[in-house]
Symmetry: C2
Subunit: 339 residues, 2 copies
Amino acid sequence: MRGVIMDAPGEIRVDERATPTIEEPTDAIIKVAATCVCGSDLWPYRGVEDVDHAPMGHEYVGTVTEVGDEVTTVSVGDFVVGSFFASDNTCEICRAGYQSRCVHAHPMGAVGTQAEYARIPLADGTLVATPGHPDEELIPSLLAASDVLGTGWFGAVAAEVGHGKTVAVVGDGAVGLLGVLAAKHLGAERIIAMSRHPARQALAREFGATDIVVERGDEGVARIKDLTDGLGAHSVIEAVGTQESMLQAIRSARPGGHVGYVGVSHDVELPGLELFFSGVHLHGGPAPVRRFLPELIDLIWNREIDPGKVFDLTLPLADAAEGYRAMDERRATKVLLTV
Amino acid sequence: MRGVIMDAPGEIRVDERATPTIEEPTDAIIKVAATCVCGSDLWPYRGVEDVDHAPMGHEYVGTVTEVGDEVTTVSVGDFVVGSFFASDNTCEICRAGYQSRCVHAHPMGAVGTQAEYARIPLADGTLVATPGHPDEELIPSLLAASDVLGTGWFGAVAAEVGHGKTVAVVGDGAVGLLGVLAAKHLGAERIIAMSRHPARQALAREFGATDIVVERGDEGVARIKDLTDGLGAHSVIEAVGTQESMLQAIRSARPGGHVGYVGVSHDVELPGLELFFSGVHLHGGPAPVRRFLPELIDLIWNREIDPGKVFDLTLPLADAAEGYRAMDERRATKVLLTV
């Protein structure tokens, strides 16, 4: 089969890879319908993380073509959505809602779903079947649920977004934008998107942002304080993962407020004394997307949300290298690869 | 009046200070019945924080001797307990339960309650009167409520301690020990106290600890994992405030677990990537003791809890210097000063 390989930073190739087969009785094989390039794929692409001839991709939707003997909840022919961590969904950590930290978790990045087929470990605990075969127009939204929507949603839940609250969102990538969508759905009264990019500002407003703040760093924090009677936001969603963005998020929250951080932290060192006196709640990490998938699939299936709008470039798998380039150069927010 | 002054690190003097008077119509003056030396007073004593001829002390119980014209909830003659931050208890931050970050907060350390009298700003929002004049034996416990009990309690609440949970407590000072007591009262099933000090281990057990772990750092974390099926504790109370203790706390919590940290963080830099993948909730800071005071006073008044046991040395105010020395040398867990 054909699949994406990153040979080294900046070097993307679509080439033959071994077609996956059932290895464990809990596996399923899916024919990938669509996959995409993640903001986190840019870390190795830019040389911030090591990479050496690695299969790429951890987001996916597709049709089950084969199941292991122990798989009971999905069947051949089902259209499925899964998370970027395979999970058993039965251990104590999964039952508490932290499937991305399942005691048997497999990172799907190791599988490499930017490919024609993918082996999904722990299929029962990882995949959720859609109610039927989806219309073509739903596929981008279902694919978004696999990571960026689930991650933005977790950011909002981790930030304790709720009715009547003021929410600030740091980061205008796909995750930040979908954090706005999640905040709207979860009942936020006021949603402040921090963005200086006109197209992303427009999508943020479409998803429910009530205010746009273009300033960053301390100036951005001052604007948030101005908009919140000097107190700061009740909830802040951090969707970047840098020292600046984390401090911007913590400083934008009021004492006793909540910061949900889902940007993968790189070179971040949180100063203890500042964090202590901030009085904020801090929660985040790799999103337990599986926790939210049934609800997100329902919302998408019923056309209540349209998270697929974050995809602003669609390419065939064969053109994956151009997809990486477009995201690296910020010409695209999020690239969908059709398979 | 007589009061404690720290001239420089390690230099404690009890000397004449101006007797306080009403300065604002919201002030009250109290005759201090008992005060104490806080673990946080050791930071300047040891030269970790700057100090220069400062009045000392922020914990206090006593009798109201004078009130400003606008004070309505306490009267001359009332026996009162207050927090180490004065707060209006009416602003939006106070109403959310974060009185230590009240928009009008005054740190009581600036007042210096290790003295015969103290001026309490924002008396209505800061002081809680006891149901009557307390028996002598209740005074240590009421004094504990003013800071160490309220702080340990907040650590447990911030760590989301609750029924059926396993709780680990990092730190065996007065706050850690009272974190154990709080965890017991809040319904924890298993309470693991981390201590290598026999007398403190004994008090931890008396307060409700079910297990003692003497190891520290990575070995301590490994022991907590051993005791929790490899998962880590649901809730961890951090009551030290060093890099080692913070990492020990974070690493001792399971993914999705809660760390409540109340040790004042000094020279702490939290590594972002480790925190991200830990998946824990982190909350803490200066405890909003005022939130808990009414409940804590009730529990003490009704003899349901006896937090005063953390005081293992009682001295007259005139011997404050010996009290500081005993705590610095760890000869005493917590020193009560009678006035």
